[in-house]
């Protein structure tokens, strides 16, 4: 039984969507809108907050409450929104530049505090809005307009940053796989605490095909591994490959070869606080490994906005001061009431306020 019979359309605004034709952002938006419709939460309780970037135009295309803020600060502004009103369902829409460059500080502190917001990181490995400069997720050697001879710096792996910041939820998806993106977003929405979903997004104009080696549907089964809670970590067209641990390291093994059976394949446990293995999964890259997709980590931990609320409630249970008049009269006060004393002139009378 659902309370509200929303469809994705109920979450679309009348504003004309202005992303370039073929941009991966369209697909992500469809997945988000579908997810929100399925959440069965009153439309009025959604707040979508973004920074600046192509991806950050997102709130204008939504029919919910939305706030398109300033570059890098979406995480901080969303932290204020959610702390002020924990009853809202708060989504942060942000790019790789927005969250990992200019907003890096707010991003890691949002994750560390574990404020219950859902953050979608549109990773196109480029600055789209400013027309194609390298970003903190661009690979070493990447040639762009600001790196005509190739970059000389290594990139962030977003999931590492999340787990390094004591993140409680990290998932990965690809823009061209809407169904899977939606499944992942649904789990992110369920999570209590900060959930970060990195979506590999194609920028057709400035970084076309940057994720193709991973995302090409023809090779999806071979190059991506879809991690599912409680399931063995298998992949491949024939579902005949899996991940095992050998000498403390991950390794791809063929089921049926060298005596490996399904029993030997690692089982995915995102709810276990197993940082080492989860970071290893995040780090897997082609060609040695398939790229990990799905919810890689989802653990329970205390949630900032709830703790803030509880602390106030706990203090108020035992409070001695219940209003400002009592506060003003509390502590060291004394009374002046001599005969040579004047009647007080009140500030707002004195200053002739209307």
């Amino acid at each position: 039984m659902t309370k509200f019979n929303y469809t994705a359309k109920d979450f679309k605004s009348a504003a004309e969507v202005r992303w370039c034709p073929g941009c991966g952002d369209y697909a992500i938006m469809n997945a988000v809108q579908k997810t929100m419709a399925d959440m069965d939460i009153a439309h009025k309780d959604f707040a979508v907050i973004s920074g600046i970037g192509c991806s950050s135009r997102f709130p204008y295309y939504m029919s919910t409450y939305g706030f398109h803020t300033i570059h890098g600060r979406a995480a901080a502004i969303a932290s204020g929104v959610k702390s002020a009103n924990p009853d809202l369902t708060v989504w942060v829409m942000t790019g790789d530049g927005d969250s990992l460059a200019i907003g890096g500080n707010h991003f890691i502190h949002l994750v560390r505090r574990n404020i219950n917001v859902n953050l979608v990181l549109f990773n196109n490995k480029i600055y789209g809005l400013t027309k194609g400069q390298y970003s903190p997720t661009s690979d070493r050697g990447k040639i762009t307009k600001t790196s005509p001879f190739g970059t000389i710096e290594d990139s962030f792996v977003p999931g590492q940053l999340v787990l390094g910041s004591r993140g409680t939820f990290f998932a990965r998806a690809v823009d061209n796989n809407i169904k899977h993106t939606q499944e992942v977003l649904a789990e992110a929405a369920q999570h209590q605490g900060t959930s970060v979903v990195e979506v590999l997004q194609n920028c057709v104009i400035f970084n076309d095909g940057i994720h193709d080696h991973i995302s090409d549907p023809k090779f999806r089964a071979e190059r991506q591994i879809f991690l599912k809670k409680g399931q063995p970590m298998i992949f491949g067209e024939q579902e005949d490959k899996g991940l095992i641990l050998e000498n403390g390291r991950l390794k791809v093994a063929k089921i049926g070869e060298n005596g490996i059976t399904l029993e030997d394949i690692l089982v995915h446990e995102p709810a276990e606080d197993n940082l080492g293995l989860q970071v290893a999964l995040i780090n897997m890259s082609l060609p040695e490994f398939p790229v990990a997709m799905g919810v890689i980590r989802s653990i329970e931990a205390l949630v900032y906005d709830q703790e803030m609320k509880k602390q106030i409630e706990a203090v108020q249970q035992k409070r001695r001061i219940t209003c400002v008049d009592e506060l003003l009269q509390s502590g060291n006060t004394w009374t002046v009431d001599g005969e040579n004393c004047d009647e007080p002139v009140k500030f707002f009378d004195n200053k002739c306020f209307g």
Binding site: K44, Q311, W334, F347
Partner: protein, 613 residues
């Protein structure tokens, strides 16, 4: 008693001075509170180094606390001290120039050793001659050894014994000024009594030793009488500017019926505001210590978007970091209050010293045409009312407001007649009412304020942002639209003029010289102008609390005087603002950039010169 020299005074300034570890701030505060409780009016000035524990015994490590109290209205902590308590040679050296000629200097004779004289960089073994202090009443008291003597029966380590020295000085001063010890005793009991009864006992013993020392050796210590001040009826408390600011926001939250949110990052001298509000979970305050000042204001903007009374507190360097986000609140038209407790700049500057040099940063330090309302408090206690009013303006006009205070106000304290909530005006936030007609940037035709709809309100869902917008909040880069919106944002701030009172003149409404000040210099300005008036000069004061917009009658007030002088603790920022807004007048300037408040004397001298010229 017959040998005692009894001096009756209208007002006295005492300076307590020692190493930053000597507990001088506490000593000064306890003495001030005691005096206020006796009915004296007081004004205090804590003056401490930016290093928490600078090298012991050096002039750089001296921490001072000056309090002036008296039998009449006290408006400043006093230019010069009548009595100095110097716990070591460095304290003597640092304060010699702030002494009233012929004043009394009480010093810890034990600490005037060769080694300490050297640390304070005295060239001879006679610091008093070196500093030309021979005309002063010099009272050597072996404070260290008497403290040790008083505590010899308690089994205390040397460090804890020495920590009690300040209580000896406090006891002695209380005797000199005929202050009872009961308030201080109660304080010591409640601070140490439970945690460490032996420390409480030690402090009490030493406090009494100091008091008795004065009584027993009364032939050499003068005793002063300062009568209570005739002040207004009511309940009083001592309050510093930062606490008053915090409480003003609490009052505004209660009046407006909104929860209070503060997002801030610690910075001297503003941190106390965040701390004072973090303490008030009992009143439901949500305090968020952010990762930096940018996040401080951004969480605040987020909370305002979500419908809270949202404030952020900082000092100059922090305001610089907040500037881009402050522009966002201008564009989005969200009600936030930013408090800037100014300190000496630029850069890290003089973190613990006062200055008024962020005025132009506040008015103009943002990209684009980005008008905000700017208020400035003028005494420690009126920070309460200006914080309240800043919140009222923000909420009723949907506009960001910056409240300027400074280190002198923030840390300084004075007795304050506490108001009741019923004395404060109502605050009516502009909550949107009709979803049918609602658009986020539809405006009240009178005030140009928009309506406020917050997430969770059914039927009002809308998008806003930092891009130039149409009435629905959608992006609109049309040239005429930007022109119109820029004008509206400016006009909206100007229209706040009808919420603020007219500029008041202290003294005759016309004359030879109009003295202009703004913000935290009020006490010194009014004292110096009164001194001029008492000397028969035609001088009046117009002190500004409302910077943007300026009060309606400003030009009118200015036009009645032959000369105008603008006094400020910067290089002339308000003067240049006035030249821009009211170019028809000529402005003289008095400026000071020493990290110190004005002194009444220097102001009077400057005014005399202007009258003669």
């Amino acid at each position: 008693m017959k040998n005692t020299k009894v001096i009756e005074l209208e007002e006295v300034a005492i300076r307590f001075s020692g190493d930053s570890g000597d507990g001088m701030q506490l000593t000064g505060t306890l003495f001030s509170d005691t005096s206020a409780l006796l009915g004296n009016d007081i004004s205090t000035f804590p003056d401490y180094p930016s290093e928490i524990r600078a090298p012991q015994g050096t002039v750089g490590g001296v921490s001072g606390f000056q309090v002036q109290f008296g039998g009449k209205k006290i408006t400043t902590p006093g230019d010069l001290a009548h009595v100095l308590v110097a716990m070591n040679p460095a304290a003597l050296k640092a304060n010699a120039t702030f002494m009233n000629p012929g004043g009394t200097i009480i010093f810890d004779a034990d600490s005037f050793s060769e080694k300490n004289l050297e640390k304070a960089q005295f060239k001879t073994n006679d610091p008093f001659t070196e500093l030309k202090l021979n005309d002063f009443s010099l009272i050597p008291v072996p404070i260290t050894s008497l403290t040790k003597e008083s505590l010899k029966d308690l089994e205390l380590d040397n460090k804890s014994v020495l920590r009690c020295k300040n209580m000896f000085a406090l006891g002695l001063i209380c005797w000199m000024f005929d202050r009872p010890l009961d308030y201080i005793e109660k304080f010591i009991q409640s601070k140490f009594g439970k945690k460490s009864p032996v420390i409480a006992k030690a402090n009490l013993l030493v406090l009494h030793s100091g008091y008795n020392y004065g009584m027993n050796l009364q032939h050499m210590t003068p005793q002063y009488i300062v009568h209570p001040a005739p002040i207004e009826k009511g309940t009083y408390r001592n309050i510093n500017g930062n606490n008053a600011t915090a409480w003003g926001f609490l009052a505004a939250a209660e009046k407006s019926g909104l929860p209070l949110f503060i997002g801030s990052y610690p910075i001297t001298p503003a941190t106390d505001i965040l701390q004072a509000l973090a303490e008030r979970k009992d009143l439901g305050v949500k305090s968020f210590q952010a990762e930096d000042e940018i996040a401080g204001i951004c969480t605040t903007i987020g909370a305002a978007f979500a419908g809270h009374l949202a404030v952020t507190s900082t000092s100059g360097p922090g305001l610089a970091l907040k500037s881009e986000a402050l522009g966002l609140s201008v564009m989005a038209e969200l009600p936030i209050v930013v408090v800037n407790v100014q300190r000496g700049g630029p850069s890290t500057g003089l973190p613990t010293k006062t200055e008024q040099s962020d005025l132009l940063q506040t008015l103009y330090g943002r990209n684009g045409e980005s008008p905000v309302v700017v208020l400035a408090a003028s005494t420690p206690s009126d920070c309460f009312y200006y914080a309240f009013l800043a919140a009222k303006i923000a909420l009723e006009r949907m506009v960001p407001v910056v409240l300027l205070t400074d280190g002198f106000l923030g840390n300084g304290s004075e007795p304050w007649r506490v108001p009741t909530m019923s004395e404060l005006p109502a605050i009516t936030p502009r909550k949107a009412k009709n979803p049918e007609t609602f658009l986020p940037y539809n405006r009240d035709p009178e005030t140009l304020a928009r309506d406020w709809a917050i997430p969770g309100m059914e039927g009002f869902e809308h998008r806003i942002g930092g891009l130039e917008k149409n009435n629905a909040g959608g992006v609109n880069q049309d040239p005429d639209n930007h022109q119109r919106n820029s004008e509206i944002r400016a006009a909206k701030v100007e229209k706040v003029v009808d919420m603020i009172p007219e500029l008041e003149v202290a003294g005759e409404p016309e004359g030879d010289l109009l003295v202009i000040g703004w913000g935290g210099t009020y006490g010194h300005m009014i004292s110096s102008v009164r001194a001029m008036q008492d000397a028969g000069k035609k001088v009046s004061l117009a002190h500004f609390n409302y910077i943007k917009p300026l009060p309606k009658n400003t030009a009118d007030v200015f036009s009645k005087f032959k000369k105008i002088v603008v006094c400020e603790l910067n290089m002339g920022q308000f003067a240049s603002y006035l030249r821009d807004k009211l170019p028809e007048f000529q402005y003289y300037q008095v400026n000071k950039m020493k990290g110190l408040p004005f002194s009444v004397n220097e102001l009077v001298e400057n005014f005399d010169k202007l009258l003669e010229a």
